[in-house]
């Protein structure tokens, strides 16, 4: 089975590095990284990854808006919303808009891998 291809969207280089290391160590392939909404949408449409980890707060737009756009373009990548604590509405809205799963910061690498695996079970 070929490796699942993942796009990471997060404005923090620190978090992108950790998420990438964690995914790579667990047998996933990180095909791209984006630090803002515009790049995220471009890369997502271009690369058609199997999964996108999507941080909600980005400098130019919200993760939820990216999600909306991608679903409108009928991109079938699985989407994992990354949300800060206490933003229950973001998670509910995200799931309604067609995200497969979510994870709340702070999280451990085990929780991240669990969430990614769960998303692929959909």
């Amino acid at each position: 089975m070929s490796k699942k291809r993942i796009l990471i969207v997060d404005d923090s280089l620190y978090m992108r590095t950790i998420i990438k290391d964690t995914l790579t160590a667990n047998g996933y392939e990180v095909v791209g990284q984006a630090s803002n909404g515009e790049t995220a949408i471009d890369l997502a449409l271009d690369l058609e990854p199997d999964l996108i980890t999507l941080d909600n707060i980005l400098p130019d737009m919200l993760g939820l808006d990216i999600l909306k756009t991608l679903r409108a373009e009928s991109l079938s990548s699985k989407i994992l919303i990354i949300s800060a604590v206490g933003q229950q509405s973001v998670i509910q809205e995200g799931l309604k808009l067609g995200a497969e799963d979510y994870i709340v910061k702070p999280f451990t690498s085990e929780q991240l891998i669990d969430a990614v695996q769960r998303a692929f079970m959909f």
């Binding site: 999280f107 451990t108 690498s109």
Partner: protein, 351 residues
């Protein structure tokens, strides 16, 4: 209770010291000095062939020094090692190297011309041999290999930070952990980090120098009236117990305190954590790392009561699970995490 005999190998290039240490250890009926070595190579070879329970190793030896022995013993026949070191900065930087490579702990030889003063460390050495014997050696080995990875990448933080200070408390087995955590904090950390590590002051001095070389954050020893700044890391010295105090102008500064604590003193992690929690309340993030005893538990309880964040190093990644367990037993640990997870977790707490 019948106690097992602990077999010990001594390595020191001074015949007088070998004799002194041997005599001192043999006074304890549970200790048996099975052999001695005069340099690092011999120490490694004898460890390999005799398989002692604990090695007591002088750092400074001619030709093959203590570092050589630690490297090879931990690689080929992992055995708990207690380092004997002199009180000078040049040697103490080697000690950190040795701890990174997996040495269990160290005892610093008392200052003075007369090596017979070594007796003053008898209790400390005895206690450390007992805990070295009971340590799960596999918890020490991987530290240096796994924990090298560095991530100083910038992180985007919230405007209004959920936590305003990171406190770290550690003892035996924690120095490699502290290094790892500092090497994996973003260079633009928006809060101060204050570290209480049980260690003599001159070791803290060379620890600070070692950290400064590789870490982009500013790293300083505390001194009286020094004000906390975001993005700076402070290490307590062992001259005093230290507290944080909020000044009228809003600055938070370090102050020496005469207060004595039950668990440990000079420096007391409880003193630091309790005083910090009183100032920062729910915006305090406390981390307890590997260590003997229970210092930090009272501080973690206080942070927990005030709804701050409490993290402790888990059993698997701790060399000595004493301090994390003590805090956990008091219900003062929200997250028990592997060392590897701690920096990312702490940073993402600051979202």
């Amino acid at each position: 209770m019948k106690q097992e005999i602990i077999n010990i190998l001594i390595a020191d290039d001074s015949g007088f010291m070998r004799l002194m240490v041997k005599q001192m250890l043999q006074e304890n009926v549970h200790f048996k000095v099975i052999d001695s070595a005069t340099n690092g190579k011999e120490a490694f070879e004898k460890t390999q062939s005799l398989r002692p329970d604990v090695v007591v190793l002088d750092m400074l030896m001619a030709e093959y020094d203590g570092l050589y022995a630690v490297k090879n013993i931990m690689k080929y026949c992992p055995t708990p090692i207690i380092l004997l070191t002199s009180l000078n900065v040049a040697q103490s930087s080697q000690v950190f190297e040795a701890l990174q490579l997996g040495a269990f702990d160290f005892v610093s030889k008392p200052l003075g011309v007369f090596s017979s003063k070594i007796r003053t460390v008898q209790d400390e050495l005895t206690e450390k041999i007992y805990s070295a014997k009971s340590v799960d050696i596999s918890s020490i080995i991987p530290q240096s290999s796994i924990l090298q990875k560095k991530n100083h990448s910038p992180h985007t933080f919230e405007q209004k930070l959920p936590y305003q200070i990171i406190l770290i408390g550690g003892s035996t087995g924690a120095t490699a952990g502290i290094e790892y955590i500092l090497h994996n904090l973003p260079a633009n950390l928006p809060v101060p980090v204050v570290i209480g590590q049980h260690m003599p002051t001159h070791f803290i001095t060379s620890f600070v120098q070692r950290l400064q070389k590789e870490c982009p954050l500013s790293i300083e020893m505390v001194r009286s009236s020094l004000a906390l700044k975001a993005g700076c890391v402070y290490l307590l010295d062992a001259e005093s117990n230290w507290e944080l105090e909020k000044m009228k102008n809003g600055e938070v500064v370090f102050q020496k305190t005469e207060k004595q604590f039950i668990a440990y003193n000079l420096p007391s992690i409880d003193a630091l954590f309790i005083s910090a929690a009183a100032i920062f309340e729910e915006k305090t993030l406390g981390i307890i790392l590997s260590g003997m005893g229970r210092d930090g538990t009272e501080g973690m309880k206080k942070i927990e009561q005030l709804n701050g964040m409490t993290i402790a190093q888990d059993k698997e990644s701790s060399v000595v699970f004493g301090m994390p367990r003590a805090a956990q037993e008091q219900g003062a640990v929200k997250y028990m995490l592997s060392l590897r997870e701690i920096p990312m977790f702490a940073v993402s707490c600051l979202a």
